[in-house]
């Protein structure tokens, strides 16, 4: 064995599926001088990989997870480690059959062959199942079992053979040294290694290791119970590792997977059982392994009854092995990937399951190599997504406790968290509550989605506010949203936008820095603003935001609640180190009200003053002439200093009005009073984020805008490119020269009546856009056409969808299909590119 090194380019801590595949991918991408360590022995160091059930059900409603799972399965296949056995999700409840229609739709999107089965058809494939309690099945022939330990070994040994990796087992990390905010060295029981890069791929131990460097990887080890029962005659006779499809008993949150002559029964139904990473026993002190803890039998008993109910033969099988297996859970059930926000060059590749392991390893390796992944946009897994309150044990335990039993659950795309609510409230909360707001959670912020006080408007706009007949479509939705939308378009509404993030950049280097970060020219006059994408080095979307220039060397970035953490990291990661730019996060200092509608100007004319040259308080001239679209002004509103920004995300004349948090309530009341005569109403996010936005075709980061797509494809490229260099410029210039192979389009549903005769309303959860004959539309870069946002257009009496289409389909008037709940509905291309369906010349915003 080679001597323990004192220096390396990169140290990967952990030799589970992630660490092993990561060193393999890094070596393939040209990384040399790597060291991999694990505190346990090889090939099974005792982490979660060692006891994983190792099966892959590829269909996922979440695009990121679906693509990562498919990429992983492809790698397992390439290494000969993928054993295709098929898998059936079975339904015991009617709601589950509906969910299967949704799964058929997602399977179609990702190109996964799938089929709905009758109970008899399930029985044909799984002869030992009790089909009498099964209502139907969702069958995926490509479901497979993989050998994750051997896959990891092959990847690791591949990197070793290429001479780029040294591996040390039984090597425990004692400390991580950090210097000037950058990782410096890994101290182990075998010695100290200085390293330029360190990756924490330690599964359930990751938070403990990251903490040594002062970094935070928010996850908790949690129990997943499983038992191996056998021998069972019919399974033994199959003479195969897996001869029968894996059965997921979805409504009992349980699965049955053949392992040679036995059956593995696993459960996600028991109470959430957490363990702190510091409490996990050592390899030596563990009866089996550190992550195979003694089964707490009482928790498993109900599952055994359900398993026997489904497969009677299991009753007489002996329980040979049963554990409380540890795996990683995160507050939002997504992995934790990327460079830690606290320590430069310290990376996290944690909270990853077998099914997505190799794909995620590839993604992280690309990220480390190219500055951003190529495989897919990682925004849902990005470690920088978390806000401070989301990284606490308090939050982790509460949310994991809430979602653990939803592992096999039916989760609505608009589903709201029940726990950890009221973490952040805007100053307007009391008024909103009094107006009967239904609050949605926006990363801790309570944001009104609609207001019961506006219910009377449903009558006023009755024809546009019909209730939705299907409970699924009506869930987490209200017709009041359409009424609020129309009232705003008719007169004026006010929207609570306090969840915005505001980042102030000051100092002499600010202009140069922001030019480097942004696509569009930020060198505008003081009092003007810029809308701009931020790009990845590969030229895809990394951010999408507006910037106000408040003074020569003072810029304010405005970005959304769901991207604040990621944008904060991205700016800070690229800040010059010479002190020429100062960053201040103003998000908790400022609150925001959007005031929009034909009467917004009249309302704000009444509410707004300033002090003139003679020192007198006079009404402020809010006319377009004095205060044109895109400009920013400092004003007084009932004595409160406020910043008004003439802009709109809903396509109406009006402003985002900012003031300090403590002034907020007074400002709200002042604007509400000024708008009384115009019947001003509070308007919820249902309008701001969906109906108002989609009528205007406005793109949203994380939906239409992802790193797989560039500004040309999204229709957001400007006529000219600024001379200053910026991240992604080379790729952006290239994209401008090429004919885009996909274009963002607005589509309208021609008829949304389903076969059962009721009107359906797609939720915008990656439903595939298909040709008239039901074929998927895939562009030359391999990206599939799917719905990125769906919503009503009450002003047009239509239901709209946003989707990227290939050029031959991106033709206005072209008729296509959208699949929703496994049914095809006719749709028509209403707009190609960014021109809105509603008010296409933007006249309303500028008059």
């Amino acid at each position: 064995m080679s001597e323990f090194p004192t220096k390396a380019k990169c140290v990967v801590i952990g030799a589970g599926i992630v660490g092993n595949c990561l060193v393999g991918h890094l070596a393939k991408l040209g990384w040399t001088d790597m060291v991999q360590i694990d505190k346990g022995p090889l090939p099974n160091p005792g982490g979660s990989t060692g006891h994983a059930s190792n099966f892959i059900f590829p269909t996922d409603h979440n695009k990121e997870m679906a693509l990562l799972t498919l990429a992983s399965q492809k790698q397992y296949i390439e290494m000969g480690m993928n054993n295709t056995c098929g898998g059936i999700e079975v339904a015991r409840n009617p709601e589950r059959l509906e969910e299967f229609n949704r799964r058929m739709t997602s399977a179609k999107s990702w190109g996964i062959d799938a089929k709905l089965l009758s109970p008899a058809e399930v029985k044909e494939l799984v002869p030992f199942i009790n089909e009498k309690i099964v209502l139907g099945g969702f069958y995926t022939p490509s479901v497979s079992c993989v050998d994750s330990l051997q896959t990891g070994t092959l990847m690791r040994e591949g990197a070793m053979k290429s001479g780029n990796l040294n591996v040390f087992a039984n090597t425990e990390v004692l400390d991580l040294e950090v210097e000037n905010g950058t990782i410096k060295a890994v101290v182990t029981n075998k010695g100290r290694i200085e390293a330029e890069y360190v990756v924490v791929a330690c599964g359930v131990w990751s938070p403990r290791i990251a903490k040594m460097a002062g970094a935070n990887i928010p996850l908790t080890p949690a129990v997943h119970q499983m038992a191996d029962v056998g021998p069972i005659d019919i399974l033994q006779k199959s003479n195969a590792e897996v001869a029968y499809p894996i059965v997921r008993d979805m409504d009992t949150f349980c699965y049955e997977r053949q392992t040679a002559g036995s059956m593995e029964v696993g459960s996600y139904a028991h109470r959430a059982i957490f363990m702190h990473p510091d409490d996990i026993p050592s390899n030596e002190a563990s009866a089996l392994s550190p992550t195979e803890l003694p089964l707490t039998q009482d928790d498993f008993d109900p599952q055994m009854e359900q398993a026997i109910e489904l497969m009677e033969m299991l009753g007489d099988a002996e329980i040979k092995y049963a554990i409380n297996g540890l795996l990683s859970l995160t507050p939002d059930a997504m992995p934790v990937l990327g460079e830690t926000v606290e320590v430069k060059n310290l990376w996290s590749a944690a909270a990853v399951w077998i099914k997505e392991g190799p794909g995620i390893a590839q993604l992280v390796a690309e990220w480390m190599t190219y500055g951003y992944p190529h495989l897919c946009d990682p925004h849902s897994s990005d470690i920088s997504r978390f806000y401070a309150h989301e990284k606490t044990d308090h939050h982790i335990y509460a949310r994991c406790d809430e979602h653990f039993n939803k592992t096999y659950g039916i989760v609505h795309p608009r589903e709201q968290w029940a726990t950890q609510r009221n973490m952040r409230r805007s100053p307007f909360y009391a008024r909103e509550e009094a107006a009967g707001a239904t609050f949605f959670d926006a990363r801790g912020w309570e944001r009104p989605q609609w207001f019961a006080s506006n219910e009377k408007l449903v009558k006023k706009f009755a024809s546009a506010c019909e209730p939705r007949a299907h409970e699924w479509d009506a869930r987490w939705w209200s017709p009041i949203t359409n009424a609020e939308h129309l009232q705003m378009r008719e007169s004026v509404g006010m929207v609570d936008l306090t969840a915005f993030n505001e980042f102030d950049f000051t100092g002499p280097g600010t202009m140069k820095f922001l030019q480097y970060m942004c696509v569009n020219n930020v060198d505008v006059e003081v009092g003007r603003s810029v809308y701009t994408p931020l790009l990845t080095p590969g030229g895809g979307f990394r951010g999408d935001l507006t910037i106000m220039r408040l003074a020569m060397d003072h810029f304010r970035v405005i970005t959304g609640a769901f991207d604040g953490g990621r944008d904060n990291y991205w700016f800070n990661r690229h800040m010059p180190q010479d002190g020429s730019v100062k960053f201040t996060d103003m998000s908790s200092s400022l609150c925001t009200i959007g005031v929009w509608g034909p009467n917004a100007e009249k309302t704000m004319a009444k509410a707004t003053q300033n002090i003139n040259a003679e020192g007198k308080l006079v009404p402020f001239d809010v006319s377009q002439k004095n205060f044109p679209y895109g400009s920013v002004r400092e004003v007084l509103i009932d004595g409160v200093p406020a910043t008004m920004f003439r802009i709109s995300y809903v396509g109406e004349n009006g402003w985002e009005v900012y003031t300090k948090m403590e002034h907020g309530l007074r400002m709200w009341d002042s604007i509400a009073k000024a708008g009384e005569e115009f019947e001003i109403i509070p308007v919820g996010m249902g309008v701001y984020a969906v109906t108002g936005r989609i009528e205007k075709g406005y793109r949203l980061m994380g939906a239409e805008l992802e790193s797989e797509y560039n500004p040309v494809e999204a229709g957001l490229n400007r006529a000219k490119v600024k001379t200053a260099d910026f991240i992604g410029k080379a790729e952006y210039l290239k994209a401008r020269e090429e004919k885009p192979c996909a274009v963002m389009c607005t589509l309208e549903m021609i008829d949304n009546t389903s076969k059962s005769g009721i009107k359906r309303f797609p939720t915008g959860g990656n439903e595939p856009i298909l040709t008239k004959t039901g074929e998927r539309i895939v562009d030359t870069k391999g990206r599939v056409s799917r719905v990125t946002t769906a919503g009503a257009a009450p002003s047009l009496g239509k239901y709209l969808l946003l989707a990227y289409l290939t050029p031959e389909h991106a033709v206005e008037g072209n008729e296509l299909r959208v699949m929703y709940m496994n049914e095809l509905f006719p749709v028509r291309v209403a707009r190609v590119g960014s021109q809105p369906v509603f008010d296409p010349t933007d006249a309303r915003m500028k008059s």
């Binding site: 055994m304 026997i308 007489d316």
Partner: protein, 255 residues
Amino acid sequence: MNILVCVKRVPAPGARINITPDAQQVDTAFLGFTVSPHEECAVEQAVQLIEKHGGDVTVLTLGPVEAEEQLRTAVSTGVAKAVLVPIDTQDWDPQRTAHALASVIAELEVANGKYDLILFGNESADSCGYQVGIRTALKLGRPIVNGAKGLELENGIATVRRESDAGVEIYKLKTPACVGVKEGINLPRYPTMKGRLASKKVAITQNAATGNEGGLKLITLRRPPERASNTKILGTGPDAASAVVDLLEELGVFK
């Protein structure tokens, strides 16, 4: 036929056994519990004898109320009845335990008739006293053979086989008798899922017991110094051959 099996709840540790800071107990914070492998075999042997001859097996333990878990595990493999002698601590010393067991067995036998066989594990897995079975048998005035690697019952005679360096010893005991069973006598079955579910429904009888403390006292627990591994990897595959030959020569295997 009635058979009684006595078991003891013990921690199921890994290679390294952690001790609590007061050095009085094994740190069981993250450990499961079990009975000793000898006792698992005793339960299995009893169940097999009943399957052959008919009758009932009763399992008895003296321990904390949590020891119900071990009783139910036994029930889930074919034992019919379970009796718990609850105590406030993890265990009692062997003299006190034997005294308590003997008095409880006497009570049980008044109600149910004499047990043809009372089985123990050869020794407990945690304290390894080798005493409780013998002391209990003595108090009950019954013969006992420890270290049983074979046990048959025919016409009121228990035939016990045990292995020694000198060969195999065969004992014939007139029932009622006691036997200390040793691991290897059989391959114990695992509980079935149905068995486990059924065991939850079995009522566990509680019999109180007293007894004076015996002479054996726990002063402190100490972990023996860890043995350093002497494993040396000579190589893998054919490359290792010459190193293996060298070593065998060094050890004097080739002469």
